[in-house]
């Protein structure tokens, strides 16, 4: 046994130098090969480095030529060193953007006439704009993911009267089966214009049926919860339901009932009609308890309301900077309740079946956009019954609008708009012109469809 091991050891020892020698030779040739390869790669890298440096030099040169003023004012951050206000990383700072919405206004009506210009049979609230210079708001948006489960969005319009909390809500990001929940204070997805912020409207002002049924900014931010479902179907179809506090002071009213007393249901569907065009449409309803003094002068309505909506949008975009958007909505109000006179305390019934609609078109060509809109109330339904008697409120309210926009960049909008407004029912039209300026800075959130 031992001899065998010794024999094997001797055998191995005899061959070792030979095999080591061969291995060393092989290693050397491979090393040489690698060396050559490395050399040629180094050459390539050096060449690329040269190109990159050339490009970099060119870029800095160009920038110096282009924007000397800004260059001096902008602090130069070290490449790769993303740092926050307190020296933290980008993670510690949410996305922030600010949109300034300001305009000049002229009308053949005086300021006090504008202020008292309601729509008889719909709203007693007048118009907010004044002749001359106006500042609507500097809207502050703050948004960021909270954690892997929620995103948070806050919208704070800063006006001359102070800061409002228009929206502040969290949205789930990890629910299964296409479900998403939203909670906090938010703009309802009932119909279309409601969920849009004023600076994204296609015109300076909201469409007439919105003003008539919901107020100047639509339903506005409402406290509540929303649940939506987007099933994995071939066609985009979203279903949604909301429970809201119901504080809108035209359709609902904070004191109308205890707890949440406004609810909405909606469906949104969309198909691409061609590669370059898309249709988006859906019905929705908003209903709940109502207690408001803003429908009839000097009287309070206590009752129930349901507002039905139908929206349709068609967008066509044949070229990167050319497109046409056609959009229309129809709203129908069904409202019943008791109307109490503020002075005498007399109570009579009020029963409303009224409707309204608008159609609009926007044509974009390069940096220009041209818009036209027609809106009217009482198209098919004009019933306003007090104590069972249908009232004659006068001429049908309507308005026609034309606009021209110049958008020097994505972040600036200059809009000239003209309204011929016959919604006052008093034989006095409001012919007004608005020159509006919108500027946006900061994180730019992508626009919804």
């Amino acid at each position: 046994m031992r001899t065998r091991i010794i024999a094997a050891a001797v055998f191995m020892a005899a061959f070792m130098p030979f095999s080591v020698c061969r291995a060393a030779e092989e290693l050397e040739s491979r090393l040489n090969q690698l060396d050559a390869e490395l050399g040629s790669q180094g050459e390539i890298i050096r060449e690329q480095q040269k190109t990159i440096e050339g490009l970099r030099a060119e870029l800095t040169k160009q920038k110096e030529q282009e924007t000397p003023a800004q260059e001096a004012a902008t602090p130069v951050t070290k490449a790769g060193g993303v740092s926050g206000f307190f020296g933290g990383s980008a993670l510690t700072n949410p996305n922030i953007s600010l949109v300034l919405d300001t305009f000049a206004h002229t009308s053949d009506l005086k300021d006090d006439e504008l202020e008292s210009r309601g729509i008889p049979g719909f709203t007693t609230s007048g118009l907010e704009q004044q002749n001359g210079f106006n500042l609507r708001a500097a809207e502050l948006f703050i948004f960021a993911p909270v954690d892997p489960y929620f995103n948070l969005y806050v919208n704070l319009p800063v006006t001359e009267d102070g800061i409002e909390l228009e929206e502040a809500y969290a949205v789930t990001t990890a629910l299964p089966e296409g479900l998403q929940a939203k909670g906090g204070k938010f703009k309802s997805n009932f119909s279309r214009l409601n969920a849009q912020h004023p600076h994204t409207w296609d015109f300076y002002d909201i469409a007439l049926p919105y003003r008539a049924f919901l107020g100047d900014e639509g339903l506005g931010g409402e406290k509540g919860v929303q649940l939506t479902w987007l099933p994995a179907w071939p066609v985009y179809t979203q279903f949604g339901a909301e429970a809201l506090q119901g504080e809108n002071d035209l359709l609902f009213g904070a004191d109308a009932a205890n707890g949440p007393h406004a609810f909405s249901l909606f469906v949104k569907a969309s198909v691409d009609t061609t590669d370059n065009s898309t249709l988006y449409f859906g019905p929705s309803v908003l209903f709940g308890k109502t207690k408001t003094e803003n429908i009839v002068d000097g009287a309070e309505l206590d009752g129930e309301s349901a507002l039905y909506g139908l929206e349709a949008v068609w967008k066509w975009k044949p070229q990167p900077r050319q497109g046409l958007t056609l959009q229309g909505e129809y709203l129908y109000l069904d409202q019943d309740g008791d109307l109490t006179d503020a002075e005498t305390g007399d109570v009579e019934s009020l029963c409303r079946r009224q409707d309204g609609f608008y159609v609009q078109g926007i044509y974009q060509l390069n940096r220009w956009r041209f818009g036209a809109r027609y809106d009217a109330l009482e198209l098919l339904a004009d019933s306003f019954k007090r104590a069972g008697e249908k009232e004659n409120l006068g001429e049908t309210p309507w308005r026609a609008t034309g606009s021209v926009e110049f958008n020097p960049s994505e972040f600036t909008r200059i809009r000239l708009q003209y309204n011929h407004d016959e919604s006052g029912r008093d034989d006095r039209s409001n012919d007004e012109a608005i020159l509006q300026f919108l500027f946006g800075i900061g994180a730019h959130a992508a626009h919804t469809f």
Binding site: Q70, L230, A446, T448, F449
Partner: protein, 293 residues
């Protein structure tokens, strides 16, 4: 009534795609082409942007959201090229598989050696890409790296076909090498061009030509008359041999500049499928280099 409702909804439920495939959503056509090369018949690819659409000016459409809703993986260019629509698509799709941070959220630019990263940027400089030039699909070296990253992630997400994806990548790499000889036979070293937009910097860097001037004074800002006059003066002395432009963006301006300077207009497809005979990424690169010849 119930029958009508059932009749409406049943077909919708039944046409849900088969579960065997990986459902991939690609933002741009070249990414779709690459995903088909690597994924083969194990993937179904939906491309969000049509070849003739400019990715800079796109809006989110509900059809994009529904595609992302059903995706196992979303693959995008990155470097903020899709900033105008991708965030809202990801946010609205309610698909936990493709949110940032998950392997199903695949940013191709992570594998790219990015050029033209500005050190300081604000919007007075125009619609500049703050993370660097995003048009790297003209660069075979970078696309090869993206393809490898894609194969790795696909193999990770679909473990039953690991070898299949690896094999497809090897095939792709070999095809790139085969085409590269033909591409490099076009001698562009040291040649000078003018371009409308900063689309072709990777192409220039990789094939050795130079872009000496741009018709757009700043990215996204159309040229003024005085900028064009200055440019014509510069072009008289520099004598670039051509003006590089895509069919859909700045062609008119390029043609009028060509008429006034004598430099020929070289129309290059912006992406796969944007011009006839560019149906996949290889055909696209073939067309690009043939046009530069």
């Amino acid at each position: 009534m119930r029958n009508i409702i059932l009749g409406l909804f049943l077909p919708l439920l039944l046409t849900t795609p088969a579960l065997a495939d990986m459902n991939i959503v690609a933002t741009l056509p070249w990414i779709g082409s690459l995903a088909r090369e690597i994924g083969g018949d194990q993937v179904t690819v939906t491309t969000l942007v049509k070849p003739n659409q400019d990715p800079h000016f796109l809006e989110a459409k509900p059809s994009m959201i529904i595609a992302a809703r059903k995706a196992d993986m979303i693959i995008y260019n990155g470097l903020d090229l899709e900033i105008g629509y991708l965030p809202i698509v990801l946010e609205s799709a309610r698909n936990p598989k493709i949110v940032p941070g998950k392997p199903g959220n695949f940013d191709c630019s992570r594998f790219v050696h990015v050029i033209e990263k500005p050190t300081a940027v604000d919007r007075s400089m125009g619609d500049i890409h703050p993370l660097g030039n995003p048009h790297y699909h003209f660069s075979p070296a970078n696309v090869l790296r993206v393809a490898q990253g894609m194969a790795d992630v696909l193999a990770d997400l679909d473990r039953t076909h690991v070898d299949f994806y690896r094999q497809n990548f090897k095939g792709f790499a070999a095809k790139v090498e085969a085409h590269r000889k033909q591409w490099e036979s076009v001698n562009l070293k040291g040649k000078e061009f003018v371009a409308y937009h900063r689309n072709f910097e990777y192409l220039a860097a990789e094939f050795g030509f130079r872009i000496v001037d741009y018709i757009e004074p700043k990215p996204g800002i159309p040229p003024s008359a005085s900028h064009i006059e200055n440019l014509i003066e510069d072009m008289k002395s520099d004598k670039p041999i051509g003006i590089l432009v895509t069919p859909g963006y700045g062609l008119k301006e390029s043609e009028s500049l060509s008429a006034r300077t004598g430099a020929k207009v070289v129309i290059l497809p912006q992406d796969v499928g944007a011009m006839p005979g560019t149906d996949d990424w290889f055909a696209f690169m073939d067309t690009v280099l043939a046009a530069l010849r």
